[in-house]
């Protein structure tokens, strides 16, 4: 087991390096982060030149990558523009936990991310719980009632859910539950943001503002997951031991809940485990529409400004989360299913 973990980690490290290098080089093809600093007018030429020098953007790509990776405290930077480096660098590099500073607002990337991460986690964990509960229920129920009207409706709906673009469902919900409900004088939901500043950041406000984004995101994922639960449930229900259990005269409820469900949900656990880090990405569109101050929105805002330290920070954090969750899922799976042995 320990060997397995070590081997997986050793395998993941070069992959993370590779992907970070590719992404970093790609980001050099972005626009100039300094060009969008002023929002209304680009900085004047002398300032652009100085800013590029001070921020190290005039260095060749491999130096910039090295600085991002390992910091620049071992080299001298030319801050005064005389062509000779004189100021020792202060960056530690991502390998020593320093993700650098945003080029746009100069704040620490770590700080920017940790500020937004709780918001994204809050949204995503809630979505995940809603998805798990509803898709387990739908999947199991349509499996035991296979080919009934209920099953067919769920199947049809899940195809629609799977095919609907997030912007459409989000806008539809906003139009219906915020705009129209308000017009009809019904209690309506807020459209965007995380809370109403007049009321303040109360749990009630946050919960209210979460309804629409959670609904939009869940509907899309429930579709796929419930189909998955249904088919693995069907598979298990046809197995000998379930038939044996039934033959013993156990109540159907007990058979389903105690014998079939446990085994049918094993692959489901894996699926969820592997998908959790990807939810961070799934939120990009949703957070943009609902103006939810999470990491997805942070990514988009800084993407339009080519603020690559922030972008790299978010991507690497996601990458590491993916690797860790893959590992956890593998290990959890081997505990849950004694037939699986990790060598």
């Amino acid at each position: 087991m320990v060997n397995y973990i070590i081997r997986r980690v050793i395998q993941a490290i070069p992959q993370l390096f590779l992907i970070s290098l590719i992404l970093f080089v790609l980001m050099q093809a972005f626009g100039d982060p300094i060009a969008s600093l002023g929002v209304r007018t680009p900085p004047r030429p002398e300032d652009r030149e100085r800013l590029r020098r001070q921020l190290g953007l005039d260095q060749p790509v491999y130096i910039q990558y090295l600085v991002w990776l390992a910091g620049n405290d071992w080299m001298k930077i030319d801050m005064d523009g005389d062509g000779v480096g004189e100021t020792p660098g202060r960056r530690l590099g991502i390998l020593r936990g320093d993700l650098g500073n945003s080029l746009i607002n100069k704040r620490l990337v770590t700080e920017l991310i940790t500020e937004r991460l709780p918001n994204t986690l809050l949204l995503m964990v809630t979505v995940e719980i809603v998805i798990i509960i509803i898709s387990l229920f739908l999947g199991v129920y349509s499996a035991i009632r296979q080919y009934t009207l209920f099953d067919n409706i769920v199947t049809g709906l899940s195809f629609i859910g799977f095919s609907i673009p997030i912007p459409l469902i989000a806008l539809l919900f906003m139009y219906l539950f915020s705009v129209n409900f308000k017009e009809w004088g019904l209690p309506h939901l807020p459209t965007v943001g995380m809370f109403d500043p007049e009321v303040g950041r109360t749990p009630g406000q946050i919960a209210l503002h979460m309804v629409l984004p959670v609904l939009s995101l869940s509907i899309i994922s429930i579709a796929g997951y419930s189909r998955y639960v249904r088919s693995s449930m069907l598979e298990v229900l046809g197995l000998d031991y379930v038939r044996t259990a039934r033959a013993k005269g156990l109540r159907e409820m007990v058979v389903v809940m105690r014998h079939a469900l446990r085994n049918a949900t094993l692959p489901f656990v894996t699926l969820i485990g592997l998908d959790i880090p990807f939810l961070l990405a799934g939120a990009v569109v949703t957070e943009s529409i609902f103006a939810w101050p999470g990491t997805g929105r942070l990514f988009i805002t800084h993407l339009t400004q080519s603020d690559f330290p922030v972008l790299m920070g978010i991507l690497m954090m996601t990458g590491i989360a993916v690797v860790i969750f893959q590992l956890i899922t593998d290990i959890a799976y081997s505990f849950l299913d004694p037939r699986i042995r990790i060598e």
């Binding site: 100039d32 060009a35 652009r48 709780p118 339009t304």
Partner: protein, 568 residues
Amino acid sequence: MKHNKLYLLLSLVVIASMTLAACGGVAATEPPAATEPAAPPATEPPAATEPAAPEFSGIAVVTFVQQPTTLSPLYAQQWFSTITTEFWLKSLWSFDPDNNPVPEIATEIPVPSEDGLTLTINLRDDVFWSDGEPVTANDFVFTYDMYMADSNIVGSRFPYEDYVESVEAPDDHTLVVNFTEPFAAWLVELFQYGVIPEHVLRPVFEADGTLDNAAWNTAPTVGVGPFVFSEWETDSHMIFEANPNWINPPKLEQVFIRMADDAAQEVAILAGDTDIGSFLDWSQADAINNSGVAQFVTQPSGYDEGWFLNFDPATAHPAMLEVNVRKAIVHATDRQKIVQDLLGGLTEVPVTFWDSTPPYGNPNLTPYAYDPEEANRLLDEAGWVDSNGDGTRDKEGTELVLRYIANQRQLRKDVQAVVQQMWAQVGIGVELVNYGDDYFNDYANGGPQATGQYDIAEYSSAGAFPDPEASYNWLCSDVVGADNPDGGNWQGYCNEELDALFNQQATETDPEARKELYYQIGEIMHNDVVWVGIWQDPDLWALSNRLQGVRFSGATPFWNAHEWTISE
């Protein structure tokens, strides 16, 4: 069983992150106790404000559609960052709606010396930082030093590295600025975004070697203005509380800045939940004016939306180099219709680049009229005719298809499509391209303007409002080339006569004489069709009916925040 545990764990995580999210931000922005400005210690503020402890009432809610990047004047470049300073960080003077300077920390507006090389500014002796320390000339010297310190990655060093030789403080209330050459735009550019407190920031600079990461940049608990910074929660809000110690104590109790996007802002304005809406879109005018709770306000701030044309023979379409073709392009464009139908008729077509920067726009010029006949005539005369019958004019085998670029703003995309249709009427073809801002304005990585991959570039631009200075756009010496990669003249336009005028105005400190120079500049640029204005692009605000006394100015929009009151 195992699943139950899993769910329990997940619910715990939700509750935990909800609590975190609910109170995380507030805790983080709590000002450090050490600098708590509640009671001004030691140095007593002037007695004048003491007896009748001023009463504050009402909260003005201002909505920003973009998050300020920082609050420090050293690093602030973005418009939303700079306009907040009028609440909490006054400078030497501000500007009223007619662009007249209004003294703030300075006792009066100074007059430069005869040779234009020295400026002596007298400072008030009754101005205090919000923690009670006096504001002195040394704070300004420190501010200048910090702009110029190589270890600070400041936003812009203009005009200090270009025109200023030194800044001195002969005594606490006298500030002397020595220029390397006469500097016409001193009134606007000197300490434009305010002054920083030496007593707070010098220790930080000495400890860290830089102010780049100073906590004060995002939580400036010490300021000098009608309000004092109290908290800033990223992507949510920013609060400024009344400052009784400012020379003009405010009437409001608090200014609450809410960050929201366009859609949320409009909802808030219409619902009466916000008093000032910022950076609005022309299309929102009707809804706001019809709401009965707010009105749509336009305030010129020097910006004009216009076409910057490519004159570089190496990259531009050959037709762009013919003045009559340029005239034909303008004649073929119904700019009045664009202003009427897309902008609700709320603004006008500018003739010169300075029409929104009074008094520098030449009043004797009139815009080229919409006249497709004239456009056709000029094009025929210039030899651009549709010889192959494909619907587009051509000459010597070159089709008259122009590359018309802009950024991603929806309004510009709309204008592009409308213009495309107008030009098709006179046989001018057009290729429309849109870029993200960072690439559109990129000069380092081969952005479209810097490398001349365009014939017409549309954007909104201004001089150093209310100063007209914008010469780098058209100076011969600023033409971008292999030997001058950082030049600001992306148009490649070079005209000796215009150059001489631009250089003359930069050092002309007599306002009347300078105005005359700008009239001449405007005329040359109009006749040669160097820049084509589409609409005057003022700042667009929404103002609720309950907030009284607001008089936006173009340069310092919130300059009279101390006069604002709320009426229910």
